[in-house]
């Protein structure tokens, strides 16, 4: 149980909440928007018109399991 013994004495710093929250909100929103663009846009809903984006990421969208045409 070498691993278990070393666990309680971990000195890894805990990230303070007030430092984490702004990053989580800002980066979270942008990263979720990216996921939307790859997985969903120009399908049921469109932020960008046309189907260029849909066609370009077509294979990735299908293979990652997002609903596609």
């Amino acid at each position: 149980m070498a691993l278990g013994a070393s666990v309680p004495t971990v000195s890894a710093p805990v990230v303070p909440v007030r430092e984490l929250v702004p990053w989580a909100v800002f980066a979270g929103v942008i990263l979720l928007a990216l996921l939307y663009l790859v997985g969903m846009d120009q399908g049921a809903t469109s932020v960008f018109s046309g189907s260029m984006l849909h066609e370009f990421v077509h294979d990735g969208r299908h293979l990652l399991g997002f609903p596609c045409h």
Binding site: V14, V17, W23, A27, A44, P67
Partner: protein, 247 residues
């Protein structure tokens, strides 16, 4: 500090996406081509001539398009993973940073990929009805979001129970809470069953296994690589912890 975490998470995501691309190329693309072959056979039988050139060629879709899609997905998952790790480390599980990364990747794979997949599995081209894209997108997103909500509830409940009835029982109880909530959600959401009767079963099977495989490669790589980077960072840094009251 959060900046470093975020950079490492996105870096792990990029490498994970490259690995997932290799897997997708060998196991996903053949199945996807099988779907397109079925589609072509249908349109030929219907007497349609494919006159107009496609907006994006198959060659681009299956190479750069697939790679870019996976890279964006990898960066996004890696970044969010790093932020969740930043919140969980030292609070949620009493584990070393590297072990936390491993546990989070496993939970992420089950909650974000596997469970939504069990209700709404991936579909190759030509195996869905075009007009139901609205219903399929909506139900998929609801399943995904509620799966995440169920996981958050389960972790909150599990954490309290661990303090009362011990680690082993508490974790099992938390997992049970997740399974029950996700099960109820899946049972209530509408069934989508539109695969054409003569769609090749082997193509469908291979395609769906490829989806799980791509995600397994990607999430495992994100968890392991981020864990490696974050453990190396904390070992080499060893700076004195200032602001002891901030925790």
């Amino acid at each position: 500090m959060v900046r470093t975490l975020l950079v490492r998470g996105m870096l792990a995501g990029v490498v994970a996406a490259l690995l997932a691309f290799v897997f997708a190329w060998f196991f996903g693309e053949p199945a996807l081509d099988g779907g397109i072959a079925y589609e072509d056979a249908l349109s030929t039988a219907a007497g349609e001539t494919d006159g107009e050139a496609p907006l994006v060629s198959r060659g681009t879709q299956s190479t750069i398009g697939l790679l870019v899609a996976l890279l964006i997905y990898g960066v996004a998952v890696g970044g969010i993973f790093a932020l969740v790790h930043g919140g969980a480390q030292g609070r949620l599980f009493r584990l070393a940073p590297r072990a936390t990364a491993g546990v989070l990747a496993l939970i992420g794979y089950v909650v974000v990929v596997l469970v939504p997949f069990l209700k709404y599995p991936s579909n190759p081209p030509a195996s869905s009805v075009d007009d139901t894209i609205g219903l399929r997108s909506g139900t998929f997103v609801i399943m995904l979001l509620l799966s995440v909500v169920a996981a958050i509830v389960a972790v909150a409940v599990g954490q309290r129970l661990v303090a009362r009835i011990g680690t082993w029982n508490g974790v099992l109880a938390g997992a049970a809470v997740y399974v029950v909530i996700a099960g109820i959600v899946a049972a209530l959401l509408p069934v989508v069953s539109e695969t054409p009767a003569d769609f090749p079963a082997v193509v469908l099977y291979n395609f769906r296994v490829a989806t799980l495989g791509i995600h397994a490669v990607l999430w495992a790589a994100v968890g392991l690589l981020f864990g490696l980077l974050v453990s190396r960072g904390t070992r080499s840094a060893e700076r004195p912890t200032v602001g002891a009251g901030a925790g």
